[in-house]
Amino acid sequence: MTMKDNNLYWIFKIRKRPFYIWLLRFLWVVWLVFWAEVALGSKAELEPKAFAISLVIFLVSFSAGLLLWVLGLRKFRKHKK
């Protein structure tokens, strides 16, 4: 790839990870989608407690997953240097 190509394209790099990591990430996304759906549905059903609980589960799961990912990335970058 030339310098000219670099100006023409966005380049995404996906780090090679073991299979189980990808499986965990997939399950995490499914888990998040599930609770987001429950939260939105409960809001539509006028069920405030169900809405609050599912929203909290969603936010905590999202933040925890994001944190783990960021920590892993930082560790990887440090290790690379």
């Binding site: 549905g41 409960s42 405030p48 407690k49 609980i53």
Partner: protein, 448 residues
């Protein structure tokens, strides 16, 4: 297409489209023989006999006046009844003075007004008349009466019933033991006659009326959630009024096809027993029908007819096992009329129960006494039932399916349901500020 059928029919349609051309796909899914939109969810199992059995030696036709409404004075005693009414009136006034939400003039006016159509009918009266009111018969049109094979006739009736407001419809061969032996001071008898009739001593059902069409009508869940207030009472009355329109319309439709039709709501016989036989649901701890789609949030009605139709089978979706461990209705019942027993039994609580079938029998006079106490009726048992749900999120369908297939999870589901705050009383004041659907019901519910 129903959400639950998406994968099943989505893949099926794809297969049809590939093998038989794109045009055939959708019509295959919606053909009369398939009629998937009248089927219960996949986790509901058809069975040959209702799960809570009948004692053939005991079960017989019930005298309607023995029910708690017909014999209040007998069950309470006149003095107690007067005292109950006096307390109820006192409380009503007190609640007005306190301007208590749910018991205000507008709430009570709404509850009364929602009865208005229901009040137009009674046993062989008004909208529930056993004879034709104005539908033109095939004879008058100069054509033969409607003829179709039984599956097509059943499909036709279910489509018409849905059009008139039925949430679900089932057909069964009429078990005459479900029909009251006596009502309004007259015997109800079956005779070899062409048309039903009534004279001074009896109400006559033609023997040829061998089919019973049972229907559920969805009640407005946001109203019932306000129980026990006049707003929840308005929900029940709205259900009854919609039943009235449904049975009147369906009966006239059947007469227009050239057949006999006898419409009925709570009169004439046990709608619950007929609905269980028709596969609309199972008997729950409240001794009432619980539907897999709507839980107990339904009113029932029926039409007897001689139009030959394919009959449906009773169903099992694990409700009996669920009711054994749940007991939420019994806990929420302010009168203590619902049984806490783990197992259903044949033992009745009093004359108001029709013996000979296995269930959790209720202490009806206690229930009705609380209706007076509360000044506006009560629907707590319906509101708190974990099977009472709107279907805005897929989690309810997942839980219902898992409960039907893995009864060991029932106790867990029940406690999660409580933890998530389902079944808690909603504010009657907020009800007036909510943007409701027509009739307070979401007609898309339970239909994907």
């Amino acid at each position: 297409m129903k959400r639950r059928d998406f994968f099943k029919y989505g893949l099926g349609s794809a297969g049809v489209a590939v093998s038989g051309g794109i045009g055939g796909g959708i019509s295959e899914v919606r053909s009369v023989s398939d009629a998937s939109y009248f089927h219960h969810p996949w986790w509901v199992r058809e069975i040959n006999r209702p799960k809570l059995g009948i004692d053939e030696n005991v079960y017989s036709r019930f005298v309607a006046r023995k029910n708690v409404f017909g014999s209040m004075a007998k069950y309470y005693g006149m003095d107690n009844l007067r005292e109950l009414n006096r307390r109820s009136q006192e409380k009503t006034k007190k609640y007005y003075q306190e301007n208590r939400p749910g018991y205000r003039l507008e709430d009570r006016a709404l509850a009364d007004a929602a009865w208005v159509i229901s009040r137009q009918g009674g046993l062989n009266r008004g909208t529930r008349s056993w004879i034709r009111s104005f539908a033109t018969t095939p004879e008058e049109r100069g054509v033969d009466k409607y003829k179709a094979d039984p599956p097509q006739a059943a499909h036709l009736i279910k489509t018409a019933a849905r059009y008139f407001g039925a949430a679900t419809t089932g057909v069964t061969m009429l078990d005459r033991r479900h029909i009251h032996s006596e009502e309004r001071g007259k015997k109800i008898v079956f005779e070899k006659v062409e048309e039903p009739y009534e004279d001074d001593a009896k109400l006559v059902i033609p023997e040829k009326c061998k089919y019973a069409i049972a229907m559920t009508v969805l009640m407005p869940i946001d109203n019932i959630a306000c129980s026990p207030t006049a707003i929840s009472s308005a929900g029940s009355s709205m259900g009854y009024s919609r039943c009235e329109f449904l049975v009147a319309g369906l009966a006239e439709f059947i007469r227009g096809l050239g057949y006999t039709a006898i419409p009925s709501v709570n009169d004439l016989g046990s709608s619950v027993a007929i609905a269980v036989d028709s596969g609309l649901g199972e008997l729950g701890r409240t001794n009432r029908l619980i539907s897999p789609e709507y839980g107990p949030m339904v009113r029932l009605c029926k039409v007897l007819t001689d139009l030959p139709m394919t009959v449906d089978k009773p169903i099992d979706f694990g409700l009996m096992e669920f009711c054994k461990v749940c007991k939420r209705c019994a806990e929420a019942c302010p009168s203590g009329c619902i049984s806490y027993e783990d197992e259903p039994s044949f033992e009745v609580k009093g004359e108001w129960n029709n013996p000979g079938h296995k269930t959790w029998f209720e202490d009806s006079p206690k229930c009705l006494a609380y209706w007076q106490e509360s000044t506006s009726g009560c629907s707590n048992c319906i509101a708190v039932c974990p099977w009472t749900k709107k279907d805005k999120t897929a989690i309810h369908e997942i839980v219902k399916a898992a409960s039907a297939k893995i009864p060991a999870l029932d106790a867990f589901f029940n406690s999660m349901d409580k933890s998530f705050g389902y079944g808690r009383q909603k504010s009657a004041e907020k009800w007036w500020k909510t943007n409701h659907f027509e009739y307070g019901i979401d007609t898309t519910q339970g239909k994907g």
